[in-house]
Assembly symmetry: C2
Homo-oligomer: 155 residues x 2
Protein backbone atom coordinates (compact mmCIF):
# COMPACT_ATOMS: atom_id res chain seq x y z
CA UNK A 1 0.00 0.00 0.00
CA UNK A 2 2.20 2.85 1.27
CA UNK A 3 5.68 2.73 -0.27
CA UNK A 4 8.72 4.42 1.21
CA UNK A 5 10.95 4.86 -1.85
CA UNK A 6 14.04 4.95 0.39
CA UNK A 7 13.26 1.37 1.50
CA UNK A 8 12.90 0.03 -2.06
CA UNK A 9 16.08 -1.74 -3.26
CA UNK A 10 18.29 0.32 -5.58
CA UNK A 11 18.98 -1.64 -8.79
CA UNK A 12 22.00 -0.67 -10.83
CA UNK A 13 22.10 -3.58 -13.26
CA UNK A 14 20.75 -3.87 -16.80
CA UNK A 15 19.56 -6.70 -19.00
CA UNK A 16 21.39 -5.18 -21.98
CA UNK A 17 24.03 -7.47 -23.47
CA UNK A 18 27.61 -6.29 -23.90
CA UNK A 19 28.79 -3.92 -25.36
CA UNK A 20 25.77 -1.89 -24.20
CA UNK A 21 25.83 -2.62 -20.47
CA UNK A 22 28.34 0.07 -19.64
CA UNK A 23 26.27 2.78 -21.33
CA UNK A 24 23.75 2.87 -18.51
CA UNK A 25 26.36 2.99 -15.74
CA UNK A 26 25.34 5.57 -13.13
CA UNK A 27 21.65 4.74 -13.49
CA UNK A 28 19.84 3.60 -10.33
CA UNK A 29 16.26 2.32 -10.41
CA UNK A 30 13.83 1.72 -7.55
CA UNK A 31 10.84 -0.36 -8.64
CA UNK A 32 8.10 1.36 -6.63
CA UNK A 33 5.19 -0.21 -8.49
CA UNK A 34 6.59 -3.71 -8.05
CA UNK A 35 7.15 -2.96 -4.35
CA UNK A 36 3.44 -2.13 -4.06
CA UNK A 37 2.46 -5.40 -5.75
CA UNK A 38 1.31 -3.84 -9.02
CA UNK A 39 1.24 -6.09 -12.10
CA UNK A 40 -0.30 -4.06 -14.94
CA UNK A 41 2.34 -1.35 -15.12
CA UNK A 42 5.66 -0.46 -13.57
CA UNK A 43 6.62 2.80 -11.88
CA UNK A 44 10.33 3.27 -11.31
CA UNK A 45 12.07 6.03 -9.42
CA UNK A 46 15.24 6.58 -11.45
CA UNK A 47 18.37 8.49 -10.48
CA UNK A 48 20.96 9.42 -13.11
CA UNK A 49 24.45 10.46 -12.11
CA UNK A 50 26.16 13.06 -14.28
CA UNK A 51 26.82 11.44 -17.66
CA UNK A 52 24.38 8.57 -17.14
CA UNK A 53 21.46 7.82 -19.43
CA UNK A 54 18.03 6.25 -18.90
CA UNK A 55 18.45 3.68 -21.68
CA UNK A 56 19.73 3.29 -25.20
CA UNK A 57 17.59 5.36 -27.55
CA UNK A 58 14.58 3.14 -28.29
CA UNK A 59 10.86 2.86 -28.90
CA UNK A 60 8.26 0.19 -28.03
CA UNK A 61 5.86 -1.48 -30.43
CA UNK A 62 3.05 -2.10 -27.90
CA UNK A 63 3.89 -0.55 -24.55
CA UNK A 64 3.36 3.11 -23.65
CA UNK A 65 5.99 4.97 -21.66
CA UNK A 66 5.90 8.15 -19.58
CA UNK A 67 8.49 10.14 -17.62
CA UNK A 68 8.10 12.96 -15.09
CA UNK A 69 11.18 14.84 -13.88
CA UNK A 70 11.37 15.28 -10.10
CA UNK A 71 14.70 17.06 -9.65
CA UNK A 72 17.84 18.00 -11.52
CA UNK A 73 18.07 18.27 -15.28
CA UNK A 74 18.06 15.75 -18.10
CA UNK A 75 18.22 16.06 -21.88
CA UNK A 76 15.46 14.29 -23.81
CA UNK A 77 16.76 13.06 -27.16
CA UNK A 78 14.37 12.03 -29.95
CA UNK A 79 14.27 12.25 -33.75
CA UNK A 80 13.04 15.83 -33.20
CA UNK A 81 16.30 16.80 -31.51
CA UNK A 82 17.20 17.64 -27.94
CA UNK A 83 15.23 19.25 -25.16
CA UNK A 84 16.22 20.02 -21.58
CA UNK A 85 13.70 18.77 -19.01
CA UNK A 86 13.72 20.05 -15.45
CA UNK A 87 11.55 19.38 -12.38
CA UNK A 88 7.86 19.37 -13.24
CA UNK A 89 8.38 18.63 -16.94
CA UNK A 90 7.11 15.42 -18.51
CA UNK A 91 7.18 13.40 -21.70
CA UNK A 92 5.15 10.50 -23.06
CA UNK A 93 6.01 7.95 -25.71
CA UNK A 94 2.98 6.21 -27.25
CA UNK A 95 3.33 2.58 -28.27
CA UNK A 96 4.13 2.11 -31.94
CA UNK A 97 5.38 5.65 -32.53
CA UNK A 98 8.66 5.06 -34.37
CA UNK A 99 10.63 7.79 -32.62
CA UNK A 100 13.50 6.57 -30.48
CA UNK A 101 13.93 8.41 -27.17
CA UNK A 102 16.09 8.44 -24.09
CA UNK A 103 17.23 10.81 -21.33
CA UNK A 104 20.84 11.78 -20.64
CA UNK A 105 22.08 13.67 -17.61
CA UNK A 106 24.59 16.16 -19.02
CA UNK A 107 24.52 18.28 -15.89
CA UNK A 108 26.98 18.17 -13.00
CA UNK A 109 24.37 17.09 -10.44
CA UNK A 110 22.06 14.15 -9.85
CA UNK A 111 18.80 14.01 -11.80
CA UNK A 112 15.74 12.11 -10.63
CA UNK A 113 12.60 11.15 -12.51
CA UNK A 114 9.68 8.75 -12.43
CA UNK A 115 9.22 6.40 -15.38
CA UNK A 116 6.00 4.51 -16.07
CA UNK A 117 5.51 1.69 -18.56
CA UNK A 118 2.77 -0.85 -19.00
CA UNK A 119 3.21 -4.59 -19.55
CA UNK A 120 1.26 -5.31 -22.71
CA UNK A 121 2.52 -8.70 -23.97
CA UNK A 122 4.23 -9.43 -27.31
CA UNK A 123 6.14 -6.16 -27.24
CA UNK A 124 9.21 -5.40 -29.32
CA UNK A 125 11.83 -2.70 -28.84
CA UNK A 126 13.65 -0.97 -31.69
CA UNK A 127 17.01 0.73 -31.08
CA UNK A 128 17.56 3.04 -34.07
CA UNK A 129 21.16 3.95 -33.21
CA UNK A 130 22.49 0.53 -32.19
CA UNK A 131 22.87 -3.01 -33.57
CA UNK A 132 20.21 -4.23 -31.17
CA UNK A 133 16.58 -5.37 -31.20
CA UNK A 134 14.57 -6.79 -28.29
CA UNK A 135 11.57 -9.10 -28.25
CA UNK A 136 9.53 -9.90 -25.15
CA UNK A 137 9.98 -13.56 -24.23
CA UNK A 138 8.46 -15.70 -21.50
CA UNK A 139 11.48 -15.08 -19.27
CA UNK A 140 12.11 -11.43 -20.14
CA UNK A 141 13.65 -9.53 -23.04
CA UNK A 142 15.53 -11.47 -25.71
CA UNK A 143 18.20 -9.36 -27.45
CA UNK A 144 19.27 -9.86 -31.07
CA UNK A 145 21.50 -8.15 -33.57
CA UNK A 146 19.67 -6.32 -36.35
CA UNK A 147 20.39 -9.34 -38.59
CA UNK A 148 18.38 -11.53 -36.20
CA UNK A 149 21.30 -13.38 -34.62
CA UNK A 150 20.98 -13.53 -30.85
CA UNK A 151 23.32 -11.92 -28.38
CA UNK A 152 24.53 -14.43 -25.84
CA UNK A 153 22.35 -14.46 -22.75
CA UNK A 154 23.22 -11.73 -20.28
CA UNK A 155 25.05 -13.04 -17.24
CA UNK B 1 6.23 13.68 -26.81
CA UNK B 2 7.29 16.49 -24.45
CA UNK B 3 4.40 17.65 -22.25
CA UNK B 4 4.27 20.98 -20.49
CA UNK B 5 1.89 20.26 -17.60
CA UNK B 6 0.98 23.97 -17.40
CA UNK B 7 -0.42 23.74 -20.94
CA UNK B 8 -2.61 20.71 -20.22
CA UNK B 9 -6.25 21.66 -19.55
CA UNK B 10 -7.25 21.69 -15.88
CA UNK B 11 -10.32 19.51 -15.34
CA UNK B 12 -12.43 20.15 -12.27
CA UNK B 13 -15.44 17.98 -13.11
CA UNK B 14 -16.30 14.46 -12.03
CA UNK B 15 -18.37 11.64 -13.49
CA UNK B 16 -19.78 10.86 -10.01
CA UNK B 17 -23.54 11.17 -9.79
CA UNK B 18 -25.17 13.39 -7.16
CA UNK B 19 -24.96 13.46 -4.16
CA UNK B 20 -21.28 12.59 -4.56
CA UNK B 21 -20.19 15.27 -7.03
CA UNK B 22 -19.61 17.93 -4.40
CA UNK B 23 -17.26 15.69 -2.40
CA UNK B 24 -14.45 16.12 -4.89
CA UNK B 25 -14.80 19.91 -5.13
CA UNK B 26 -11.37 21.53 -5.03
CA UNK B 27 -9.79 18.72 -7.03
CA UNK B 28 -8.05 19.69 -10.30
CA UNK B 29 -6.72 17.08 -12.73
CA UNK B 30 -4.40 17.51 -15.70
CA UNK B 31 -4.38 14.43 -17.93
CA UNK B 32 -0.70 14.34 -18.88
CA UNK B 33 -0.72 10.83 -20.32
CA UNK B 34 -3.70 11.58 -22.54
CA UNK B 35 -1.99 14.79 -23.68
CA UNK B 36 0.97 12.68 -24.79
CA UNK B 37 -1.29 10.32 -26.73
CA UNK B 38 -0.95 7.36 -24.35
CA UNK B 39 -3.69 4.72 -24.43
CA UNK B 40 -2.60 1.90 -22.10
CA UNK B 41 -2.54 3.90 -18.88
CA UNK B 42 -3.35 7.36 -17.62
CA UNK B 43 -1.06 9.71 -15.69
CA UNK B 44 -2.81 12.64 -14.07
CA UNK B 45 -1.26 15.59 -12.27
CA UNK B 46 -3.73 16.25 -9.47
CA UNK B 47 -3.99 19.31 -7.23
CA UNK B 48 -6.10 19.21 -4.07
CA UNK B 49 -7.14 22.40 -2.35
CA UNK B 50 -7.43 22.31 1.45
CA UNK B 51 -10.33 20.01 2.30
CA UNK B 52 -10.49 18.37 -1.13
CA UNK B 53 -10.18 14.65 -1.74
CA UNK B 54 -8.85 12.55 -4.62
CA UNK B 55 -11.97 10.40 -4.89
CA UNK B 56 -14.53 8.59 -2.79
CA UNK B 57 -12.85 5.75 -0.94
CA UNK B 58 -12.78 2.90 -3.48
CA UNK B 59 -10.90 -0.05 -4.94
CA UNK B 60 -10.68 -1.50 -8.46
CA UNK B 61 -11.32 -5.09 -9.46
CA UNK B 62 -8.91 -5.16 -12.44
CA UNK B 63 -6.98 -1.91 -12.70
CA UNK B 64 -3.86 -1.09 -10.69
CA UNK B 65 -3.41 2.38 -9.24
CA UNK B 66 -0.37 4.31 -8.01
CA UNK B 67 0.18 7.75 -6.48
CA UNK B 68 3.35 9.77 -5.89
CA UNK B 69 3.20 12.96 -3.84
CA UNK B 70 4.98 15.94 -5.40
CA UNK B 71 4.28 18.72 -2.91
CA UNK B 72 2.16 19.55 0.10
CA UNK B 73 0.60 16.97 2.36
CA UNK B 74 -2.27 14.50 1.98
CA UNK B 75 -3.76 11.87 4.25
CA UNK B 76 -4.04 8.38 2.78
CA UNK B 77 -7.08 6.59 4.19
CA UNK B 78 -7.47 2.82 3.88
CA UNK B 79 -8.88 -0.02 5.98
CA UNK B 80 -5.54 0.08 7.82
CA UNK B 81 -6.19 3.63 9.03
CA UNK B 82 -4.67 6.97 8.16
CA UNK B 83 -1.19 7.95 7.06
CA UNK B 84 0.21 11.35 6.17
CA UNK B 85 2.05 11.41 2.85
CA UNK B 86 4.39 14.23 1.91
CA UNK B 87 6.60 14.97 -1.11
CA UNK B 88 8.51 11.90 -2.24
CA UNK B 89 6.13 9.41 -0.64
CA UNK B 90 4.13 6.95 -2.71
CA UNK B 91 1.39 4.35 -2.50
CA UNK B 92 0.16 1.60 -4.79
CA UNK B 93 -3.19 -0.17 -4.92
CA UNK B 94 -3.13 -3.54 -6.68
CA UNK B 95 -6.17 -4.58 -8.68
CA UNK B 96 -8.53 -6.83 -6.77
CA UNK B 97 -7.22 -5.93 -3.32
CA UNK B 98 -10.43 -5.21 -1.39
CA UNK B 99 -9.10 -2.23 0.55
CA UNK B 100 -10.76 1.08 -0.25
CA UNK B 101 -8.41 4.05 -0.45
CA UNK B 102 -8.40 7.76 -1.10
CA UNK B 103 -6.38 10.87 -0.33
CA UNK B 104 -7.68 13.91 1.56
CA UNK B 105 -5.92 17.23 1.90
CA UNK B 106 -6.42 18.19 5.54
CA UNK B 107 -3.64 20.77 5.44
CA UNK B 108 -4.01 24.52 4.90
CA UNK B 109 -2.02 24.55 1.64
CA UNK B 110 -2.27 23.02 -1.82
CA UNK B 111 -1.19 19.41 -2.29
CA UNK B 112 -0.04 17.99 -5.60
CA UNK B 113 0.47 14.38 -6.66
CA UNK B 114 0.73 12.17 -9.72
CA UNK B 115 -1.80 9.35 -10.10
CA UNK B 116 -1.34 6.45 -12.50
CA UNK B 117 -3.95 3.89 -13.48
CA UNK B 118 -4.12 1.39 -16.30
CA UNK B 119 -7.09 0.74 -18.60
CA UNK B 120 -7.73 -2.98 -18.27
CA UNK B 121 -11.26 -3.55 -19.60
CA UNK B 122 -14.23 -4.99 -17.66
CA UNK B 123 -13.22 -3.23 -14.49
CA UNK B 124 -15.51 -2.62 -11.51
CA UNK B 125 -15.15 -0.15 -8.66
CA UNK B 126 -16.34 -0.81 -5.12
CA UNK B 127 -17.05 2.10 -2.75
CA UNK B 128 -17.14 0.59 0.75
CA UNK B 129 -18.40 3.75 2.50
CA UNK B 130 -21.06 4.88 0.01
CA UNK B 131 -24.20 3.60 -1.70
CA UNK B 132 -22.35 3.43 -5.01
CA UNK B 133 -20.86 0.86 -7.38
CA UNK B 134 -19.31 1.48 -10.80
CA UNK B 135 -18.95 -0.80 -13.80
CA UNK B 136 -16.89 0.02 -16.89
CA UNK B 137 -19.20 0.49 -19.88
CA UNK B 138 -18.52 1.19 -23.53
CA UNK B 139 -19.01 4.92 -22.95
CA UNK B 140 -17.36 5.21 -19.55
CA UNK B 141 -18.29 4.36 -15.97
CA UNK B 142 -21.87 3.36 -15.19
CA UNK B 143 -22.88 4.13 -11.59
CA UNK B 144 -25.42 2.10 -9.62
CA UNK B 145 -26.75 1.97 -6.10
CA UNK B 146 -25.59 -1.03 -4.06
CA UNK B 147 -28.98 -2.65 -4.80
CA UNK B 148 -28.17 -2.53 -8.53
CA UNK B 149 -30.52 0.31 -9.48
CA UNK B 150 -28.81 2.86 -11.70
CA UNK B 151 -28.16 6.46 -10.81
CA UNK B 152 -29.49 8.79 -13.46
CA UNK B 153 -26.84 9.64 -16.03
CA UNK B 154 -24.51 12.42 -14.90
CA UNK B 155 -25.27 15.71 -16.62
Amino acid sequence: MYIDPAQVPAKTGTVYPEPFKSLVRGRVKRRLGDAAGLKNFGVNLVTLEPGARSALRHWHQRQDEFVYVLSGEVVLITDAGEQVLTAGMAAGFPAGEANGHHLINRSTGLAMFLEVGDRTPDDQITYPDDDLEAVAGAAGWVFCHKNGLPYSAPE
